[in-house]
Amino acid sequence: MLILLNKLAIRNVKRSIKDYVIYLITVTLAFSFLFALNLISNAKEVLELSDIMENFKFVMIVVNIIFVFIICFLINYTSKFMFQKRSKEFGTYLILGIKKNQITNLFTLENFLLGIFSIILSFPLGYFISILLSFAMMNIFELPTLININMTIQSVFLTILSFSLIYFFVLFFLRKRMKKLKIYDLLYFEKQNEKTKIPPTMRHYGFLCSLILGVAAFLLFDAQFKNVGQEPSMAIILISLFFIILSIYGVTVTLSDFLVKMILKKKKRKYKKDYLFITRTFSSKIKTMSFTMGTLTVLITLTLIALNVSSLMKGMFEYQIKRRAPYEMIISKTDMDFSEHLNKIKENYTITDQFIYQDYQDTNNNIKMKIQKEELQGWKKFDEIIKLSDINTLLSLQQKETMHINNNEFSILCSKEMEKELKKQEIQQITLTNGITLQQKEIKSDGYFQNLSFGLGYIIIVPDETIKDLPSNNSHLILNTKEKTTEEFAKELLLLSNPDFCEKNDYGYEICYSLANLVVRGQEIANNKGMLTICSFVCFYIAFIFISVVGTILAIQSLSDSTKYKYRYTVLKKLGVKKEAIQKTILKQLSLFFLFPIIYPFLVSFFSLYSMNRIFQISLETNTIYISYFMMNFVLFLIIYFIYFLTTYFGYKKNIEE
């Protein structure tokens, strides 16, 4: 008997492989992502980062756990879908006298075989995906390498472990569900109405309570980002995230009743246009699958948040590079003769912009004296001054707005931290060592970069003619090149510079350091990759995984609906409803179905980014750049989402017209 059942199981898998394609694709993709995630969290760079940052390690563990849960949900969902498709077949087995236990074993075995098949496929696929994404991120960050993906035993082992855990639970619940079913349920599955289990009293107040919970969670989250310098508590952030998730489920479960109540309360509205029809179909739809809808909404929320965090990290990284290396090369010397450097550079690069300027010293220290915060007091002994025409050339090379000051005015360009400090102090008027007195025009930070006044954090801008008699300090060569600069070339250039200081190391070699004399963008990018880029990468990756899961669930759900409702549409057709009209109805329904789960995530992701920005803005190019991040991410999400929508729509149409 068992032998026969095994044979039947293998046969069913082989022969109904078409039906199982959705299942296989879903499960294989899910495990590919899981494996890829394991590969990434076991990559050397990420492991090193976890050693430095406790929080990061913690977050990675939480992400892994969440992901295992999601896969559990996804596979459970898909096997439920497969079970529905085959309920009649199982009913037939029962009718023929096969015992329920044996049928349960059969289906378990089938699922298990498919799982094994999927996980084997998912190793190469996951490896491929991780390399692909790592490559994509490398290009986004313009890095030579970001993460080296290696097949490690650990990641393979972790994936297999997760697989076993996931399948243990999925199959356990599957068997429990199957044990409860009667022949009647199986044979007449299609005719049965889906029921909701939420008591009506809970439904009435649930909607408002869930909304209130959501707001409370936001306030809790927001409080973590109130003060700059205060480290947000990871535990509280996770708690508020948990509340948000709870609130999302609550809102989705209770919304349909709320909608029906609100929209259909007024008789006038009830019978206007097709309000009644659409509200009813839609609300019954969410009602019957509110849990799935809730999960979708949660996943979309997490996708958008992960994308936003990724953008913040990327923004910080870019701003860091901009502050240090706004041009391909900056070379500083005490004299004006850059011919040696220029010759060397011209051998390797095509120069597109070239500019040389000088800065000047002012030992009256008008500004230096005013700085009170200890950590902002630089090590230079004098204020630095730059001519208006020079700073405007520098700014326009960065595509920044140029500055305007009158003959008796000065401005200050400084770092963001310094801007706050200086704006607190009284610096209305300064007198330079040449006796000229100037009035303050403005203090700003946009366009400031580190080497503009290394060791100070600010520079004074004065009209060109007021510079006379002031001693010059350093000369600077600013270059942009057609080709991207590299770390190797920076090392070659370094040999030409006068090192700032040299020391002998333990082995007797002399090592020389050149602090500010040479800034090469390629080298800065290579040196600064690390925490930010890797965090950004991981967030991006997580977002990618979540959105794939969302798309899969939506597609499966609508396709299984289309098979289920085929009968209804056949009836409509027989009643004489035109094909175009039916298609329009489908389009309307699907649009609502796809649109509904993105409303809440839109709000949550925006407000959470708004809170986080309060702390991050100091390290970002502008205080409002987060809005453009948000828009970009949302559009990116919508594009991918739309592709899923189209696929589903056409699949649905095809299924019904068959």
């Binding site: 008997m1 026969l4 077949e89 037939t92 006298g97």
Partner: protein
Amino acid sequence: METILKIEQVKKYYGDSGLITKALNGIDFTVEKGEFVAIMGASGSGKTTLLNCISTIDTVTSGYVLINQKDITQMNEDELSDFRRTELGFIFQDFNLLDTLTIEENIALSSIINHQNENDIEKNVSEIATRLGIEGILKKFPYEVSGGQKQRCACARALIHSPKLILADEPTGALDSKASRMLLETMMQMNQELKATILMVTHDAFSASFVTRVLFLKDGKIFNEIRKGEKTRKEFFDEILDVLTLLGGDVDLVK
């Protein structure tokens, strides 16, 4: 005469508090060995419900169902499973064949489950298939053959283990008139030559005219009963029509 099926005061109510549908409201009748009985009635009169209660697909609210002297309302799940396998055969409106098995394997499935000798099974299958005129399609899959052929395959599957009782719920429901006629003749042949006891639910008079006895169902109760006896099929058909006119409701008079 041997009684194969005995129904006593069977009631089946659907729904709980508030709205109760009395689908079967106290039914009594018996079926003897070798009979071919039809149950007729308007749609919604409880035919399917009755058949489901007999076939152990559904449970009764009260009353007894005895098949071959065994009360199925008292059996547990495992006993029912064995009982279905050995004593009952099923023919459904929508065939209920397994798409992943060939026609031959579909027919043989219950014998395989019963641990029969492989050679015996093969002999049995080909014998029955030849009788029912489907020997040429044994190696095909259900989706490769016509509705009539599928239904005759279902008949063969129901017959293969010589069950005490064959239950059929509107077996011609999904067939055109030519295939219907062929199927009914097949079932008649099963009844006459193989001595199979058949209980068939139908709502058209044409199908019913092929049987030996017709029970009429109305609002969950037996309304009338007529026997074919020595009448010709045409005479029996006319008699059924007369009862149906009395019965009222939306019954198809002619297929």
